[in-house]
Assembly symmetry: C2
Homo-oligomer: 162 residues x 2
Amino acid sequence: MARKRFDDSSCSVARALNEVGDWWSLLVVLHAMYGTRRFVDFQQELGIARNILCDRLARLVDNQVLKKVDVGEHGSRFEYRLTEKGRDLFPIVIALRQWGDKWNPAPDQEPLDLRDRLTGRTIRPMEVQDADGKPLTVRDVFVPEGETATEDRLPGNRNKAG
Amino acid sequence: MARKRFDDSSCSVARALNEVGDWWSLLVVLHAMYGTRRFVDFQQELGIARNILCDRLARLVDNQVLKKVDVGEHGSRFEYRLTEKGRDLFPIVIALRQWGDKWNPAPDQEPLDLRDRLTGRTIRPMEVQDADGKPLTVRDVFVPEGETATEDRLPGNRNKAG
DNA sequence: GAATAAGGTTGCTTAAAGAAACCAGATTAG
DNA sequence: CTAATCTGGTTTCTTTAAGCAACCTTATTC
């Protein structure tokens, strides 16, 4: 497969994808948000090959998305917990989930109804917002100095792989 | 590689990742948002192998994230444009970008400064919000009926690969 | 009318994903 | 106190996809 790595890329999206942009990493993070913490539980819930899970967990720990915590008195019992960096993937996971629910709804499953614990009210759809909270589309937006946005565009750097 | 597909998965995150969860697809979408529309431009900007680009574009068209438009009078000149479904990935791309800027800032690059065209003001960080726009973390949130949220958890279905 | 550009396709090589077996240290069951 | 089991892996092998480069066809340009 010879997958490319973009550690050096000047594009932050490429750098983000480098850490959580493969098939399994984000699903591992998702399940960590669901509460999963143990190797075997990830393995069973995800149906992932054990060697691949090892690799993904190690990489997520390396990238400080998860931390490996030794529970159990004499070692040999570990938990993988989200770090702040990992928890900060929450908006991405939710945005993905809402996108999936909206555009590929499962016939037998109602969409995610996630609620605020305090008020009990449903969360709102993720959206890009201006400073006042007004929703913005890709067409409403531009990058200062020089480049300007036109229809369906979002100007950014034009470097390779970014 | 024998990558798994999750078309049948009951998890909408897995279904979303099925469409845009590989290395290249989301970068293609990102560049489409940057304004790229032509095969050769994607190829050069991304540095992607041409057969892989073919495959990804075809899949994105199949999944109705992009549409292939025949421009040029006698055929043989095409553009790939975002559909509404594709444009709807905007929050995901921005969330990824902000996460990358926050946690893996490039030393030589200032973070994305995306602005509202009308007001000229910088967009706000993506966040999960309650109905009133109050920001919520993974700990502030629960799923109704039965399951409840505890620290670092986000309850959801416990199905395989979900 | 030859050269170049656009948009691919084909064939080969390399590397990663998947499956299953194996393994060692801790815990529990009998 | 020994055997079975659980946990968290590692190893080996096979399959499949990514990367590369060459090639190909249909416009358009020179």
